[in-house]
């Protein structure tokens, strides 16, 4: 990891066209401004990682789970249980 020290209103350039500014420092919080081309997404890392994990789970839905979902939405009892 490259470690740099910046003061307020200074910036860091990443690649050719991404720039990160330090806008404000308050206690333990840093306010960042990020200039990037529109096709580059910028997210808080935790959100990005959680959506990524959720996407991977969504792609892994098993045929059995999908069938059970259909039964549930049809108002049928889950496979293996007697009707109510």
């Amino acid at each position: 990891m490259l470690v740099l020290t910046r003061k307020i209103m200074e910036s860091v350039v990443i690649g050719d066209d991404i720039e990160v500014y330090i806008l404000e420092i308050k206690g333990d919080r840093v306010r960042l401004g990020i200039k990037a081309p529109r096709e580059v997404s910028v997210h808080r890392k935790e959100i990005y990682e959680e959506i990524l994990r959720s996407n991977i789970e969504a792609a892994s839905a098993s045929p059995e789970a999908t069938r059970e979902m259909d039964r549930l939405l049809d108002g049928k009892p889950p496979t293996g249980e007697k009707g109510r």
Binding site: I51, S54, N55, A59, T66, M69, P78
Partner: protein, 166 residues
């Protein structure tokens, strides 16, 4: 022996063999082009939406990897007050201009117990219907979860129950 990835043109319709859905057919103008891949699937860009039975769910089927298909849903069916705020950068990336002509859907996660199924309200997919460009966006609203349960505790489907505030 034909490989699973082969597509055949049949006049107007193309065919594709999906591992989950079997042979599917679609018109070329139904293909969706992601400007960026779904998070976690950066190289997959071309998809098509296929109905799941005759209901509100659809499959977002990759046309580049036959094993990849996502169950998706129109979020307003379960969450009528859903009002996602799409960031300006994503509106631009999709080439969306007034009058907006777009469709929006959310990825669904179905675990082994379908009563625990969730919808990703934080990261919906937006499709610009004018140019077929799509993107999974991260909405600005802080209150929408990535895993919003469809059913409230108890497993009964309720109208508007389990809906997030805002």
């Amino acid at each position: 022996m034909r490989g699973k990835e082969e597509t055949r043109e049949m006049g107007e319709l193309e065919s594709f063999h999906s591992q989950k859905l079997g042979w599917i057919r679609f018109r070329p103008d139904q293909v969706i082009e992601f400007v960026e891949g779904l998070l976690g699937f950066p190289e997959l860009r071309r998809y098509v939406l296929i109905d799941h039975r005759k209901g509100v769910f659809m499959w977002l089927q990759s046309l580049e990897d036959p094993s990849i298909a996502f169950l998706v849903v129109d979020p307003w069916v379960f969450f009528p007050h859903y009002s996602p705020e799409v960031p300006d950068e994503d509106v631009e990336a999709l080439g969306l201009e007034e009058p907006y002509n777009f469709s929006l859907f959310c990825l669904v996660t179905v675990p082994a117990d379908p009563r625990k199924m969730t919808v990703n309200l934080k990261g919906p997919v937006v499709v610009n219907l004018n140019n077929r460009r799509a993107k999974q966006v991260v909405v600005s609203n802080p209150e929408y979860p990535i895993r919003q349960p469809v059913f409230p505790e108890g497993g009964e489907e309720g109208q508007g129950e389990g809906e997030p505030e805002g």
